[in-house]
Amino acid sequence: MADGPLIVQSDKTLLLEVDHEQADACRKAIAPFAELERAPEHVHTYRVTPLALWNARAAGHDAEQVIDALITHSRYPVPHALLVDIAETMARYGRLRLEKHPVHGLVLTSTDRAVLEEVLRSKKIQPLLGERLDGADGGSVAVHPSERGNIKQLLLKLGWPAEDLAGYVDGEHHPITLAEDGWELRSYQREAAEAFWHGGSGVVVLPCGAGKTIVGAAAMAHAKATTLILVTNTVSAHQWKQELIKRTSLTEDEIGEYTGTKKEIRPVTIATYQVMTTRRQGAYRHLELFDARDWGLVIYDEVHLLPAPIFRMTADLQARRRVGLTATLVREDGREGDVFSLIGPKRYDAPWKDMENQGWIAPADCVEVRVTLTDDERLAYAMADAEERYRFCATTPSKTRVTEALVNRHPDEQVLVIGQYIDQLDELGEHLGAPVIKGDTKVKERERLFQAFRDREIRVLVVSKVANFSIDLPEASVAVQVSGTFGSRQEEAQRLGRVLRPKSGGGGARFYSVVSRDTVDQEFAAHRQRFLAEQGYAYQIIDADDVLAGD
């Protein structure tokens, strides 16, 4: 009996025992065709999906390699049905190809007549196609160049993802080089940029904090062309700009911001998803940005958050090189297929464990502090209206004392206190003697406080939930969350990633969440706990009494 680290489950998940001596080799072997779903401490869960298999195929792996990897590393026999399924799924990719024809422009070709016939009979695809080349039995059909994205999307839905070999336009030339003074490209960043460049278009998957911006910069240095960068929000846009000025030969004049407030179009333009998707009188007002210049490269930051209208716009940009940057391919809306067909297949996936070992990223320590409500509070909670219940338990006065004790635990570190309810935050601010930043705080005041926080003039800052999305929140090594529901997994990851960075002295940051015991608050905490543990963060639960006792 083989003794591999991998166990294949009947629901097409793969369990990888990370402490196994062959775990590393196995991870390398399965990473191309399986998506990491959960990464708690001992057993990681990967999922084999058709998209993951097609990604592998696009990266040049064949079914034999995949099956071999499974059989070699699997501890138990792999069900034959699964192997057959894998081989069949993978064989579907690339049966159809989009190619450039000297006379007819873009053509859809296939060596497999049956597949081509099946596809041509589809009612949705027919309108996208032109005439059949080489007579009625020919193996290729002309495609309207403007439908390059749509046809790829539709073909994927039919289960016959097309390989796009039609090439790209070079775009307007613009000199960009990396300015590696005092820093250098990390090895995986270089590999990621090169993998993208050779693949043409596609997605680079790197964990939070691994320096995705720099991969973008490196990609631009490859393209040496005008670049459009799409980011999630204004904060990101600022960060991108600062990074690009710092890391590349680009100057401030060459980089434009296209946001709610500024509308600059420069050789390198950074636009937010929000502004691109703003509609006035039913029309997208800012679509012309895509045609404003002859872009040679389009960068999509946080591809897993890409809104649907941008997908539609992207469908028309298929002749330009595109790179997507993300920490995960999993989308809450299940539109992974659109990322695959419109941005491109996965081109690079970082060995997460290696990066952690090399100290590039450091997961935070998460501590859940359970506060016991007093008897009076419990009675009041039991009698509260259903919609008021969460607010009640989340803002219980007991939390204030615990938060104070937690802040005092870290006298030498910068601490952020995050909450949802303004009353509670004000009260906390008063208690801790710390300034409060909330939705109605003036921008100037905000910036002053942030700067003071960064300069360590202020040690503790109380911020509302609104604040941590809308402004350039400074980094902290300790965060205390006193209230706030568990949103989506994405949102939670964003918040954590933004707030928590490894301490400069090495070691992880610390994230406290203060939770009222036996209430709905605890239910949200359970979601958070599961999510964080699955992300590989260390997690523990302590009682508020222990904190108050100074333990």
Binding site: I7, S10, D11, P40, Y76, Y539, Q540
Partner: protein, 816 residues
């Protein structure tokens, strides 16, 4: 005909005892019951049903020899027959063909399908009648044209250049190849191509107005040209047939084409022995587990039995979702569990499908033994899970577990298919995974008479089900799967066909071997899990019984397969606490079985749930007494007469009782109080899911399998036939009953003496009480003894009879 039959009997009588034994061993239906004499044997051997049965078991080549003999006028001698078949071959007539042909002729003789010496071979009587249209040829002209009226026949004969007005005359003309060649030469190319269409069968076709009477000279259309020359014969208003003579001519004097003396080679991928076995074992494990999972679920939530029998589609889908299998595979799991008697309907009307007590016995056995039970059940069952979801001829949906899911041919097809797999590739090192088409082609060669779309589907079902159950791995037969097959199945395929389905039933000796082969391939049960901070426990393999049951209690299963992922949650921890587990006990259990430290959030969860667990108490009471005056209740509690009421003081003003409300009220009244009953409100009703079972074990239908007779029985039967025949031929008068005292001997001595007589083939004198109770004496030639009966030739009655052993009063030797 009569002459032929006599000849055949004579030939059969001339066969040696050894040859007759071989015959009845291969055709056991000939001796059930034992015929009285050789004439009887010959009659039975040439009956349509017996001939049909033996023809069914012939392979393509052997069958072709029989067909050729049936087509040619009898008798034929060896060499011309061989020449005919040589012409029909796809390849050259090499030494393989020579040897195979020799062997085939001999075997057909052994089977009594062909008789006579090499110089004059003839098909046994009955063979021609059973073969309707041998090799796809039409009937001979003399039969085909028999129903034409004389005038029309006269016209045809005249047009053919002969004279006469009978079908025989026409037949004689057409029997001459030169005549046919001339006629075929006369017709137009279109007519010729119409003939070619029919040449290789089917020999009949449809045309409008087939009975039109046209003459050769006036025929216009191609069909008319053919009808006028008797090249086509009308068999109905719109149907025509190609007379056999014409067909043979068109075939170029061949009866068959593309004939192969040996089975077509199997095509498919070669597998590695180890990998095949390991994959199959993995599947075997998964299948066994699926059956268990299904039964466990049905223990708690049994699905209902449909009015027409069977399982609702909804319940099948639910089972498929539970087992994470496609519908057909879930149907297979359900059907096999049912066929093995693990689940059954709890009642004829409004019943539920639920596990039987047999399941409880099955569950505790080792995995390999459980699998053997399932796999051999599948091999032998006549139910076909593959047709679930089809519609029957009345367009009714066939549900899983529906009574109509039976197909008599199923076990035999399974045996045949697995037999093919057993012969595929090098079994020891590189077994072959033949393709579906290749298996079908092979079976078509092995059993040409048993083809058809229905059988083809069964073949397909067998292959996919064998893979699902783990009899095969990666499409090739696993060693533990092979062990389940009867010994013959692994041998040379052509011979196997004759032993028929009888071989399948045996699960005795093969079962042990299969379990032995399978056991080392199955994952070893583990006694540890990996605990993680996301509150999951991963069991990287099957767990030992105790740990598995404990985890199933304390955690919910999240995914299964090679490993099992369990998730702990408030709900599951509470369930364990409800089952009487303590927090410390649970933590100790986790500690003991985890290879890594117990994650803090998990131990916190356990203690946290335990902290709150049981703070409130809930109990059952059938009734209660409440009274604002505690002293009155003190009084009741103190009363001795209240003891049988099983009272319990819950609070100063409340007493709970286990007695029914009415009884309690009555009793209190009897004790001198004046209680009143309260309304139902406040009653606590607690329902609990029960694990349910059918009452008593299921009524299992033994799979219908004909077991071939053993050598002893065969020998005895042949001896009986011979003895009967000797008597029959000598037309012996019944011997006079011996005079003197009716023999008496102790029962054991009687049995011994009879057995000795059977062994020596000698005659004995017995005393016998007939059905009226009269003591008679007989002279017997005993043939066989079984089941309390003696079969023997009775000299005194000149016939073979069966005698009840307990009525034989004694035995004595016959004094010469």
């Amino acid at each position: 005909m009569v002459g032929m039959s006599t000849e055949f009997t004579k030939w059969l009588r001339g066969r040696s005892d050894e040859q007759l034994r071989e015959l009845v061993a291969l055709r056991p239906e000939l001796i059930t019951p034992v015929p009285a004499h050789v004439e009887g044997l010959a009659g039975r051997a040439s009956s349509p049903s017996a001939v049909g049965r033996v023809l069914d078991r012939l392979d393509r080549f052997t069958f072709a020899v029989v067909e050729t003999l049936a087509v040619l006028p009898s008798p034929v001698s060896y060499r011309p027959l061989r020449a005919r078949l040589a012409r029909a071959l796809a390849g050259p007539a090499d030494s393989v063909f020579e040897a195979r042909f020799r062997e085939t002729v001999d075997r057909l003789r052994t089977l009594a399908l062909v008789y006579g010496p090499d110089r004059a071979l003839a098909p046994a009587p009955g063979v021609r009648e059973v073969l309707d249209g041998p090799a796809g040829l039409g009937p001979p002209a003399r039969e085909a044209f028999r129903h034409y009226h004389r005038e029309r026949l006269a016209e045809l004969v005249e047009d053919l250049g002969g004279s006469g007005d009978t079908a025989e005359a026409l037949g004689t003309l057409l029997a001459d190849p030169e005549v046919v060649a001339r006629l075929v030469g006369e017709v137009s190319p279109q007519a010729r191509s119409a003939l070619d269409e029919l040449a290789w069968g089917p020999a009949s076709g449809r045309v409008a107005n087939a009975r039109r009477e046209v003459r050769a000279a006036t025929a216009l259309s191609p069909i008319e040209q053919l009808l006028a020359r008797a090249l086509l014969c009308a068999t109905g208003e719109e149907s025509v047939v190609l007379p056999r003579e014409v067909g043979l001519f068109l075939r170029g004097d061949r009866v068959h084409r593309n004939l192969r003396p040996v089975p077509p080679p199997l095509e498919g991928a070669e597998r590695k022995r180890d990998l095949t076995d390991r994959t199959a074992a993995g599947q075997a494990f998964a299948f066994t587990r699926a059956v268990e999972e299904l039964c466990e679920r049905w223990s708690a939530e049994p699905p209902g039995v449909l009015r027409g029998g069977g399982l609702a589609v909804r319940d099948l889908k639910r089972a498929a979702a539970l087992l994470d299998l496609p519908d057909w595979a879930a149907g297979l799991v359900i059907e096999v569990a049912h066929a093995a008697g693990l689940v059954a309907a709890s009642g004829a009307v409004d019943g539920d499908w639920m596990p039987t007590p047999v399941y409880d016995g099955w569950r505790v056995r080792a995995t390999e033994e459980r699998w053997v039970t399932l796999a051999s059940t599948w091999l032998a069952t006549d139910r076909v899970p593959g047709v679930i979801g089809d519609r029957d001829e009345r367009d009714r949906l066939l549900n899983a577990l529906h009574p109509d899911l039976r197909r008599a041919a199923a076990p035999e097809v399974r045996a045949a298919v697995l037999g093919v797999l057993a012969a595929a590739g090098d079994a020891a090192t590189a077994p072959l995974a033949p393709t579906l088409d290749s298996v079908r082609e092979r079976l078509a060669w092995e059993q040409p008479r048993r083809r058809g779309p229905h059988r083809d589907r069964l073949v397909e079902f067998t292959l996919r089900e064998a893979e699902q159950i783990g009899v095969t791995g990666l499409g090739a037969l696993a060693r533990h799967g092979r062990a389940l097959l009867p010994a013959q199945a692994g041998g040379d395929a052509p011979r196997r066909a004759e032993t028929g389905p009888g071989a399948v039933a045996g699960t005795g000796t093969g079962a042990g071997a299969a379990a032995g082969l399978l056991a080392p391939l199955l994952p070893v049960p583990l006694d540890h899990v990996l605990l993680q901070a996301d509150l999951t426990a991963v069991a990287p393999g099957p767990l030992t019984g105790e740990l598995g049951r404990w985890l199933a209690l304390a955690a919910d299963v999240e995914s299964t397969g090679g490993a099992t992922v369990y998730r702990f949650g408030e709900h599951s921890i509470r369930r364990a606490l409800d089952a009487g587990q303590g927090a410390d006990e649970m933590l100790a259990m986790l500690e003991r079985h985890s290879t890594t430290p117990v994650p803090q959030p998990l131990s916190y969860l356990v203690t946290d749930v335990a902290r709150r667990h049981g703070r409130m108490r809930v109990g059952t009471a059938s009734s209660y007494i409440r009274c604002d005056d505690p002293s009155a209740l003190d009084e009741v509690m103190a009363d001795r007469r209240a003891a049988p009421l099983r009272l319990r003081r819950l609070a100063p003003t409340v007493i709970a009782s286990k007695t029914a409300r009415a009884t309690l009220v009555d009793s209190l009244r009897a004790m001198g109080y004046a209680p009143v009953a309260e309304s139902l409100e406040g009653d606590v009703i607690i329902t609990r899911l029960d694990v349910r079972r059918t009452e008593g074990p299921p009524q299992l239908r033994a799979p219908v399998t004909a077991v071939g007779p053993d050598a002893e029985v065969i020998t005895a039967a042949v001896r009986a036939v011979r003895a009967g025949d000797a008597a029959h031929r000598a037309r012996r008068k019944p011997a006079a009953a011996p005079d003197g005292q009716v023999p008496r001997s102790p029962a054991t001595a009687t049995i011994g003496a009879l057995r000795e007589a059977i062994r020596q083939g000698s005659q004995v004198w017995i005393g016998y009480l007939d059905s009226q109770g009269n003591a008679t004496s007989r002279i017997l030639e005993p043939a066989r003894m079984e089941g309390g009966y003696l079969t023997a030739y009775d000299e005194t009655r000149a016939a073979v009879h069966r005698f009840a052993l307990h009525r034989i009063t004694g035995v004595a030797d016959i004094q010469p």
